[in-house]
């Protein structure tokens, strides 16, 4: 039984090793950028970043060494595990990210209310909601609530678009 468990664990770890390096690679890349870009500053401005950065690089080196040892032992591979697998959930996730990027990029023009309505609609559609009543009901409900509570009642200066500007003479809000 315990042999089975350890074998399954090994297999899982084997699939994850490449993925395990994503964060260290990101961290190392950023650290190098930090150290290089702050090189010209006096010591007080870069002391903390240098100490933290160098320690981080050492830690990452240990992590990489750990991965190398596992690769040599044959207990791991540089696969990316779940990240490389094209599962329906993975596709949905990427589509959601794309929808959110579009949302962020268009919000200065669409405004908060319309943008929220569109992104709610898109996100629910991506996640498989097909009932028009649910799609419209939830999207309208959320965007209307945000508009009334935050833009009209609280007067928060969220990005304004056609809806905020169009309704401003009635309720306020907009720019």
């Amino acid at each position: 039984m315990s042999v089975d468990v350890s074998r399954t664990l090994k297999q899982r770890r084997k699939a994850q090793l490449g993925a395990d390096l994503i964060i260290p690679v990101l961290a190392a890349g950023f650290t190098l950028y930090y150290l290089i870009s702050s090189f010209n500053l006096v010591w007080e401005a870069r002391a903390n970043g240098t100490v933290v950065g160098v320690t981080l690089l050492v830690l990452i080196a240990i992590q990489v060494a750990r991965v190398v040892v596992q690769l040599r032992n044959g207990t791991g591979s540089l696969g990316f595990g779940d990240f490389a697998q094209w599962t329906p959930a993975q596709g949905q996730r990427l589509m959601l990210i794309a929808a959110l990027i579009v949302f962020v990029m268009t919000i200065p023009w669409l405004g908060t209310t319309l943008g929220l309505f569109a992104v709610m609609l898109a996100a629910m559609w991506i996640l498989g909601v097909r009932s028009p009543a649910t799609l419209l009901g939830v999207a309208v409900g959320v965007s209307a609530t945000v508009y009334i509570v935050f833009i009209v009642l609280l007067g928060a200066r969220f990005p304004a678009g056609p809806i905020e500007n169009g309704l401003a003479p009635l309720f306020g809000g907009g720019i």
């Binding site: 395990d20 964060i23 500053l41 609280l154």
Partner: protein, 515 residues
């Protein structure tokens, strides 16, 4: 202090007369606290035109109640969907969300509500009684002492990532590195900001919090149909019983609630420190003094009580320097100062002699707001816990869109919405590959403060490193730091020994445990 029965009586009656404004302020505070991105500070700035027109006592009661309620509200989404509403609630996710996953969302909510209100109540009463001493205490915690306090928080990085310490520490240092973005604390020169103006002031906490917790959690959550499988909630149908169980647990941890609220109070008194630090330090301390530290992070009630009690303890602490010496201890207190000065109130020691109704009244209003809070919120726990049953195909779009809008609210930069998304992707990868997101966040929160206090201390010491050990208070704090590292280690050793003894007696029973 000039206390007399007449003053006390008039303070109590005046405060009770303010209930009409305390109730809506508490409700509004809970709502804005629960939405990441909205905080007491930015809500109060938005509402400043309103508060400036109010009578000063009413304005103060409104602001204080709203402020305290946000700290309670922040814990709700932290528990239910692993999405802290405020920085002060980030530590609550560690055990709160685990309780939810075990089908104990309602108990966790009740623990959060009781700890928040009792912690806030106890510290606001204590503040009234001990105000002159607390004001002095703020002056004892200087840069050098604050370096030690920051290290307490940093020690937590290692503690919470016990499964894979190397990954945990890499995550923590990655966070510290991210926290080092922005202008340096001495000359104001930007560092590693990728040329983005929006990063000159450092990585903003709200988008980091939203990305690392809410967005990344939403990306993971979508693989399930509900946050918690319906089957595990079936046995919690007897709703009121769960509320009662939460209350029973709260009573059980009454002492923890009280002492962690004082941790919050003391950290709150120090200008510049705040609820995020207080809650992490309280969590770390609670874990250190616990008989079962290994239970933390697995849905353990004290893991909810400690941070929630501490972040509400901060609320009264942060007002002490404002009222007693005329210097705001935090950004929310700064907004309150604007209102006070607008009404011509001169802050500082004289305030307690010249206008005791205002000086003490603010803490009385706070006490009232906590009393109002517990009665309004407790019965709602039962209904709130149902959030976990909303289908994720609706909940995930809701979380994603609302939190991204929330990321904008704090500084009003569209850039922050994109930043939240970037942190969301980093957080998701970190979660999937077991790099603790809380460790990254602790780094992001504490990094800039640690750097600021450390560099300042080194400047004061004029290059002499022993400055860090130059005061008694600091040395006591350092001793505690060492203790918090050694104690779990020694305890681990002891447990290992005990386990070995057990193993020797029953060799077959526990073999799998060591893996």
């Amino acid at each position: 202090m000039g206390w007399d029965n007449a003053l006390l009586l008039s303070l109590i009656t005046d405060t009770l007369m303010l209930t009409w404004i305390v109730v809506p302020a508490v409700l509004l505070g809970i709502v804005v606290g629960a939405i990441p991105g909205f905080s007491a500070q930015n809500t109060l700035i938005i509402l400043l035109p309103l508060t400036l027109t109010m009578d000063i006592n009413v304005a103060l009661a409104f602001m204080v109640s709203l402020y305290c309620a946000t700290h309670l509200g922040g814990g709700i989404p932290a528990i239910l969907v692993n999405m802290p509403g405020t920085g002060g609630a980030a530590a609550t996710t560690l055990d709160g969300y685990q309780m939810t996953l075990k089908g104990k969302a309602q108990q966790a909510l009740v623990l959060c509500f009781v700890a928040s209100t009792v912690g806030g109540l106890v510290t606001s009463v204590a503040t009234v009684a001990l105000l002159p001493y607390l004001a002095q205490l703020g002056l004892y915690l200087r840069s050098v002492e604050m370096v030690a306090v920051m290290v307490f928080g940093l020690v937590l990085i290692a503690a919470i990532a016990a499964d894979d310490p190397l990954k945990g520490i890499i995550a923590g240092f990655f966070g510290l590195m991210i926290g080092a973005i922005g202008t340096d604390h001495i000359y104001g020169t930007p560092r590693a900001a990728f040329g983005f103006l929006e990063l000159y002031d450092g990585v903003p906490l709200v988008p980091a919090l939203i990305g690392l917790f809410a967005i990344s959690e939403a990306f993971s959550m979508m693989e399930r149909s509900t946050v918690v499988p319906r089957s595990s909630v079936v046995d919690t149908k007897a709703q009121w019983a769960d509320t009662l169980e939460g209350l029973r647990l709260s009573l059980k941890y009454w002492w923890l609630t009280i002492w962690t609220s004082f941790v919050g109070l003391l950290i709150g008194v120090v200008p510049g420190a705040g609820a995020s630090i207080a809650s992490f330090v309280a969590y770390q301390q609670a874990r250190m003094f616990s008989k079962t530290p290994e239970e933390f992070g697995k849905g353990f009630a004290p893991g909810v009580v400690a941070p929630e009690s501490a972040n509400n303890g901060v609320t009264s602490g942060t007002l002490v320097p404002l009222m007693a010496i005329g210097v705001p201890g935090g950004s929310t207190a700064a907004v309150m100062m604007v209102v006070l000065q607008y009404h011509g109130i001169v802050l500082g020691p004289r305030l307690f002699i010249e206008s005791p109704d205002i000086a003490y009244g603010i803490f009385f209003s706070m006490t009232l707001s906590y009393i109002v809070m517990i009665f309004t919120i407790l019965p709602l726990a039962r209904y709130m816990s149902q959030v976990v049953l909303i289908p994720t195909k609706i909940l995930v779009p809701l979380i994603l869109s609302l939190t991204i809008v929330g990321a904008f609210a704090n500084r009003e930069y569209v850039f922050d919405m994109g930043l939240a998304l970037v942190f969301g992707v980093i957080g998701y990868i970190a979660r999937k590959t077991n790099y603790h997101v809380t460790a990254i966040l602790i780094g992001v929160i504490l990094g800039p403060l640690f750097e600021q206090y450390l560099l300042r201390s080194l400047r004061i010491g004029q290059g002499d490193l022993t400055i860090l050990f130059s005061s008694t208070t600091a040395n006591v704090l350092w001793a505690f730091v060492v203790l918090s590292v050694l104690l779990p280690w020694l305890r681990g050793k002891q447990q290992e020994r005990q386990r070995k003894n057990l193993q020797d007696r029953a060799p077959t029973a526990l073999t799998g445990d060591q893996a």
